[in-house]
Symmetry: C2
Subunit: 445 residues, 2 copies
C-alpha cells in the first residue's frame, strides 16, 4: 500500500503533541467540575432540519449517506457546533434534567469549509453553558465568564484577552440615539476589525445614520476598560435609555466579578465594539483572542434569551465555547507547544537478560502500584541500546534490577543528568514534575 | 419547536449516566498510561478506498457529502473501527514514530447498521495496540492481554471472561490432521455458538472432512482451561505439527502471564473454540464476554503479522479493542449502572441573602482551592428550597456561611444523615468517597 497522505483541514497529532491536547482538556475539565459543571456528550449527528433551523444554510454541513443506501441521504448531518446539539438535548431530555442545568461538553465538530489557517473541517470544542427553564438570573452570565476565565488562566498558553460586551448596552445606546434598525448598526460595527473606523462610518452612513449618530456609535465602539470605568465613558456620551442602563449594570457586574481573575497571561476587558452581530445573543457577549491567532477569536459566546423552546417552556441560556483545535493546532504545528515525551512512561525497566523478565516485570508492577507510569525494555539488548530506547521516547529514568544475589541493589539512572543511584521499587518516587509528560513551550520555528 | 425524538442506534446519556462512562474511560486511561501506552486520536474520517481495502464491503460505512456540494460525495467515510485508522496513521507518520509503538485510542466509531440490542450506529471503542517495524516479539501479545485484563478487572462491571486462543495452534492442528483448507474449518468452528456442536460437525462434513478429522476438530474446540493444562488436553488428541507446537507455546506463555490477573469479576481462560475466522489474525486471538451481554463479545482482538505495509517496511501488530458503548449502554439503559449525582458538586454553598453572595463565593473559592467541587445555590430562597436543590442533584453537603458576626461559625450539613456541624472552608474535607460521583450498581428493572 502506498503511504497515505494527510487530509487538509483534518489535523492529527503525534503522541507527544496529543499529550498537550490531553493536558489542556484535563485542565479544562478539572476547572469545570470544580465549579459543578457536569459532563455530557451528545450524538455527533443531528437531523438536518435541526441543523438548518432558523433558515441559516451558511454552515457547510456534512450530510451522511450509508454506503449501501446508494443515492439516498440519511437525513442526518454532523453537528457543526455544540450549541445546536445542546438545544436539542435539553428539549429531548427536559423532563429528566434539573434546571438551572449546568453542563460542559468537550467534543468534536465538523464543517465542510475550505480549510485555511485557523479553520478546520474537524475540530474539538469545549463549551460550558447554564440553561434555565423560563428564567435564568444574570448571575449565570457572571458565572460562565469567571469559570472560563479561571480555566483559561490555568492553561500554558500565550496571553489571552477575553473581551466582554453586552447587547442590551449597545442596543439601548442605539435606541437612545433614535436608531430603529439596531441590527444593521451592529452588523456594521462588527466589521471594525475588517474595514477600520472609516469603513464603519461609511457603512453607518449607508445605513441612513446622521453624522452625529454615526459619530456616537463609533465613539461607543472605541471604549475599552479592564475595570468598570467604561460606565463613566459611556455616560459621558450623553445618551440615555432604560435598556442601556440595564446593559451597563450587567456588564459592570460581570467585569467586577471577572477582573480579579486577571493574571499575566489572562485579561478580561470590557470592549464595547464586540457585538457578534450574526448570532442570536440577547445580553452578555464574549470573544477571546490571543496575539498568536491574529483576528480569529479562540473563544466566543453569550446569552440567549431562548436557547430552545418547546411550547410549554422556554429555555434561556448563557455559555462560552472554546476552540481547542483552533487554539492548539497552529501553536503545535509551529513547534510552539509540545511535551517532553512521546509516551506516558516515567521509568523504563531494563531487562538484564531474557531469563530475568519476571524480575523486571515485578519491578514494573511495584512502581505502577504507586502510580508511576512504567514500561519494560522490549528486549535484553545491551544496556546502551536499552538506554537509547528510553532517550528516543523522552523517558527520564532507566531502572536496573539487581537480581537475586545478596548484597546487590537495584539502581535507577536519571538519563538526563547521568546520575545513577541505588533504589527500592517499593519506595522510590520521582520528583512530581517527572511523573507525567511536561508541556514545553518552544520558540517559533 | 416540537420536542425532538431520540435516534435509534445513537445512544445518549443523562449527566449521571455520562459520569459512569467518564469514570470507566478514566480508569481505562489510567491503567493504559501506567503501562506506558500513549494516547492518540485519529481523524474521524478516512478515504473510502482505505476503509474498503481488502475488498471488504460488508461494513455499513457512512459516506460524507458537503451539503452545498449537491450530489457529489467527498470520497470520505466515517471510520467503523480504530484499527483501519491506526494502520493509516502508522504509515502516514512512520518516520516520526518510535517502534515498537504502543498506543491507546478511545474514540467514537460509526456503522450504518440496522440498530439492535448491542449494535449501535455511533459507539465508543477503547483500543490498545503494540505495533512493531518488521518484527514484534510474542511478548507483546502477553503484554496487551495482561494490560487489558488489568484494566477490565478494575472496572465496576459484571464478571468478564476473556477467552484466549491462538490461530497458529488451531491452524497447526488442522494441518497436522491433513486438512488443506484450514480457513473453511475455522469458519465452521466459529459458528459453534450459533449452530451447536452437531451443526459444526455437519458443516465440517460438508467441507469434505472425514469423520475422524471432524471429530478431532470438534474435540479441540471443546477444550477450555483457566491455566496451562490445555496443553496436555491437546497433546492427548495425538496430533503433531510444528505450527501447532509454536501456537501451544505462545498460548501457554500468555496464559501463564495473564492468569495471575484473575479476580472474582475477571477471568482469563484458554478457549480453543475461539477462531475469529472472519478477521486477519495470525497468532493470539481474544474475545471478552459477560453473562449480561449474551453472545455478543464486549472486547476482541489479536495479532496481525501485517497491520500495514508500505513497501519498505511491514508493521506487525497486536491489540485488543473494548466496546465501551456496547459494554455500558445496555447496563445503563436497564438501570444496572448509574452514579449517585447528576453534577460533580460535592458541596452546595447556600446563599443566606442576595447581599451575602460575595461571602458565599469566597467559601466556594476556598473549597475549590482544595479540590472540592462546589457550586452556589442559584438564589437566596429559603433554606428548605436550597437544600432541595442539592437533594435533587445528589449533592451530599450544604454549606451555611455564618456571616461576619463575631462568635458565629460556618456550618456544613450532610443532607443524607441530617448531621450539621461547624466547619471551616479552609480546612474541612469530606470523606474521599464523597468527593466525586460514585458508581451505583442497581438491580435489573
Amino acid at each position: 500500500m502506498a503511504r497515505p497522505g494527510s487530509l487538509s483541514g483534518f489535523p492529527e497529532f503525534l503522541p507527544s503533541q496529543r499529550a498537550v491536547e490531553l493536558a489542556v482538556i484535563d485542565a479544562l475539565r478539572e476547572t469545570f467540575e470544580l465549579h459543578g459543571f457536569g459532563s455530557i456528550e451528545t450524538r455527533s449527528v443531528e437531523q438536518l432540519d435541526q441543523l438548518l433551523r432558523k433558515g441559516d444554510t451558511s454552515h457547510e454541513v456534512y450530510v451522511l449517506r450509508r454506503l449501501h443506501a446508494e443515492d439516498s441521504d440519511s437525513g442526518l448531518g454532523l453537528h457543526f457546533d455544540l450549541t445546536v446539539p445542546l438545544a436539542r438535548y435539553v428539549l429531548e431530555h427536559a423532563s429528566r434534567l434539573e434546571f438551572p442545568f449546568r453542563r460542559y461538553q468537550i467534543q468534536r465538530c465538523w464543517r465542510g469549509e475550505r480549510p485555511q489557517e485557523g479553520r478546520y473541517r474537524e475540530f474539538t470544542q469545549a463549551d460550558i453553558d447554564i440553561i434555565g427553564r423560563d428564567v435564568l438570573s444574570a448571575d449565570a452570565d457572571v458565572e460562565v465568564t469567571t469559570v472560563m476565565a479561571e480555566a483559561l488562566s490555568r492553561l500554558p498558553l500565550p496571553p489571552v484577552t477575553l473581551q466582554i460586551n453586552n447587547r442590551k448596552l449597545i442596543e439601548g445606546f442605539y435606541l437612545g440615539l433614535g436608531i430603529d434598525d439596531t441590527a444593521a448598526v451592529m452588523r456594521a460595527v462588527d466589521k471594525l476589525d475588517k474595514v477600520g473606523p472609516d469603513g464603519v462610518l461609511g457603512l453607518l452612513a449607508a445605513a441612513g445614520l446622521s453624522t452625529a449618530q454615526s459619530g456616537a456609535c463609533a465613539a461607543l465602539a472605541q471604549i475599552r476598560a479592564n475595570d468598570t470605568s467604561f460606565t463613566d465613558s459611556v455616560t459621558r456620551l450623553g445618551i440615555t435609555h432604560p435598556l442601556l442602563d440595564e446593559g451597563l449594570q450587567e456588564l459592570a457586574t460581570a467585569m467586577a466579578a471577572a477582573a480579579p481573575t486577571n493574571t499575566d497571561t489572562f485579561t478580561v476587558v470590557a470592549d464595547l465594539s464586540i457585538a457578534r452581530g450574526l448570532d442570536y445573543y440577547t445580553g452578555t457577549v464574549f470573544e477571546g483572542r490571543t496575539a498568536e491567532h491574529g483576528s480569529l477569536s479562540i473563544c466566543a459566546g453569550g446569552r440567549y434569551d431562548a436557547l430552545a423552546s418547546d411550547g410549554r417552556s422556554t429555555y434561556p441560556g448563557v455559555g462560552i465555547s472554546l476552540g481547542i483545535t483552533r487554539l492548539l493546532a497552529p501553536l503545535i504545528a509551529r513547534g510552539l507547544l509540545d511535551t517532553d515525551r512521546s509516551v506516558p512512561s516515567c521509568v523504563l525497566v531494563a531487562l538484564p537478560s531474557e531469563d530475568s523478565r519476571p524480575l523486571s516485570l515485578d519491578v514494573a508492577r511495584r512502581l505502577r502500584a504507586r502510580g508511576i507510569p512504567t514500561e519494560l525494555a522490549p528486549s535484553a539488548a545491551r544496556y546502551g541500546k536499552q538506554i537509547r530506547h528510553a532517550e528516543r521516547r523522552g523517558i527520564p529514568y532507566v531502572w536496573f534490577p539487581a537480581g537475586d544475589e545478596p548484597g546487590t541493589s537495584d539502581e535507577v539512572k536519571d538519563i538526563r543528568s547521568g546520575v545513577q543511584q541505588p533504589a527500592d521499587a517499593s519506595s522510590w518516587l520521582p520528583p512530581a514534575r517527572d511523573l507525567r509528560p511536561q508541556i514545553v513551550r518552544g520558540k517559533s520555528t
